[in-house]
């Protein structure tokens, strides 16, 4: 069996760590030529050496930086088949009562406007693919789109907003007759460096780890590789009839109440 993503060109935003880096690894392993973005050049260099992917320093919320990124991808690869709108932040987030406007603007800028710009530029590139408008776009939302957190208002709002963005973009592509699919994934707690650093830095790491693990009745966090596997499935032609959907990968965290 040939590799599922042979010959495909993929873009991953926020690819230097966590789910993004895991997805760069998986897409490359399945045969895709991967371009990823972010700001941590040292981490990026190691990932490029490991996977053969290429890195571009780029901030998703900077609208003026998008045309240059896409021109570089198209100049080198001549096409775009897949985009993973993954870059996200919770920097400066807080409760609705306490959040500063700067924190709100940061989170909404990256998680919402940045995702919109990613989808917009991906569609503009994909519609010019040599065999016609084709491609797949996956947006990294969160289970918090369905279950908001009181102490992370901007994050919760942005993750719900991008689910609506997913559906609007999927319908737009349908209206235009593009064979471009747009879907969202809604991960639960994923054991990324971000989370393990929080655990290690806390006063009681064991209790904090147990707290994260107990979010799912499976009593564990997701592994980065597990989320990357779902992204790869949605990127592949296996998912050719999947569009406008939201795919939970949360170990039943939001399937209901755990009971007594």
């Amino acid at each position: 069996m040939s590799k599922r993503l042979d010959g495909k060109v993929a873009l991953v935003t926020g690819g230097t760590s966590g789910i993004g880096a895991g997805t760069v690894r998986r897409l490359a392993a399945e045969g895709a030529a991967v371009v990823f973005t972010g700001s941590n050049a040292a981490a990026a260099e190691a990932l490029c050496a490991e996977t053969g992917a290429t890195f571009r320093a780029h901030r998703v919320e900077d609208a003026s930086a998008w045309p240059g990124l896409m021109e570089a991808i198209l100049a080198r690869h001549g096409r775009l088949d897949f985009a993973f709108a993954n870059a996200g932040t919770e920097r400066g987030d807080s409760s609705v009562e306490d959040i500063e406007i700067e924190g709100w603007n940061t989170v909404i800028g990256v998680n919402q406007t940045g995702v919109m710009l990613t989808v917009q530029h991906a569609i503009r590139a994909m519609k010019n693919n040599p065999e016609g408008p084709t491609g797949s776009i996956v947006i990294n939302s969160s289970m918090n789109a369905n279950r908001a957190m009181g102490n992370y208002v901007a994050y919760s709002v942005s993750k719900a907003a991008v689910v609506a963005l997913t559906k609007s973009a999927a319908l737009h592509c349908g209206n235009r007759g593009y064979n471009i699919r747009v879907n969202a994934i809604l991960p639960g707690v994923v054991e990324t460096a971000l989370i393990t650093n929080l655990i290690d830095a806390s006063a009681d790491p064991a209790a904090m780890r147990a707290g994260y693990e107990s979010m799912s009745p499976m009593k564990r966090m997701a592994r980065v590789e597990e989320v990357a596997a779902l992204v790869a499935f949605l990127a592949s032609d296996e998912a050719a009839f999947i569009s406008g959907g939201e795919y939970l990968i949360d170990g039943a965290s939001t399937a209901g109440m755990n009971g007594l």
Binding site: G244, E246, L248, A255
Partner: protein, 272 residues
């Protein structure tokens, strides 16, 4: 990460109800291609021509058991056959189903009862009967055993004159979430997810469209297929093999953290 180029269900045993046609048969074929051993069931007699023809095309790794999903005794017999032949079960696709359409005030109680028997009781009985075996077998693989309950987009949204089918497929969706939490809570190595096909080119769809033509909703079934395609953002119906791709993903270790979730494959229909 599993070996991406290899047969990714090697060593696994799967059971597919309603496996002779449509989405069920496509799942059987895909699982076999991925290296699984598959037992399939349907209503047809084991010595019928249909069964002989289908099984001849599937090869030695597939076997057939005649079973009615509404019968607990049939499920127990199917389980005994699975145990005798393979000793294990890692994947269960509760696919067998039927439809019922018409204005709610015209639906006969016996027809309502029949669709609930097949679409809801059949899923319950399959899970109830096979869970102990799947819990034991699930220790063999990362991600454990996998139950795939075939619901529908009609389990997510209502549709004109499809109320009974809506109710049955909605029940499958929530039953799946309930067992997903139950198994995870007990640390049993079984995941459970629902699959939600949109309009798929199957014998069931053709039969349903033919009934609509007979009722005068359209001149011919092709007109209905064109109409549905036009209403689907991706502009077409699905092929059963595409649904089998989704079932394969849920059966494989790639979906190891997915349980209690819904895999919607509808070409964007429910995003509208």
């Amino acid at each position: 990460m599993s070996d991406l180029g290899a047969q990714r269900l090697k060593g696994k045993v799967a059971f597919v109800s309603g496996g002779l046609r449509g989405i069920g048969l496509a799942c059987v074929e895909r699982f076999l291609a991925e290296g699984a051993e598959v037992v399939l069931s349907d209503l047809d007699a084991a010595d019928s021509e249909t069964v002989r023809e289908v099984m001849a095309g599937l090869g030695q790794a597939a076997s057939y058991v005649q079973a009615n999903v509404t019968s607990e005794a049939d499920w127990q017999r199917a389980r005994d056959e699975i145990v005798a032949r393979h000793g294990k079960l890692h994947v269960l696709v509760n696919n067998a189903g039927t439809d019922l359409t018409g204005p709610v005030e015209t639906l006969a109680m016996k027809d309502w009862r029949r669709i609930m028997d097949i679409n809801v009781d059949g899923v319950f009985l399959g899970v109830k009967t096979l869970v102990p075996l799947m819990a034991e077998s699930g220790k063999d693989f990362r991600g454990g055993s996998s139950i795939i309950n075939v619901s529908s987009i009609m389990g997510l949204v209502g549709y004109n004159e499809v109320s009974a089918y809506n109710a049955s497929k909605g029940a499958v969706r929530m039953f799946t979430k309930g067992i997903a939490i139950e198994f995870a809570q007990k640390q049993m190595p079984i995941r459970a997810n629902s699959l939600h096909p949109g309009f798929v080119v199957t014998p069931l769809l053709h039969a349903g469209f033919k009934r609509w033509v007979d009722k005068g909703f359209a001149e011919k079934t092709d007109d209905l297929i064109d109409a549905v395609s036009g209403q689907t953002p991706l502009g077409r119906l699905a092929d059963p093999a595409e649904l089998a791709g989704g079932a394969f993903f849920l059966a494989s270790e790639d979906s190891a953290y997915m349980t209690g979730a819904e895999l919607v494959m509808d070409g964007g229909w429910t995003a509208q």
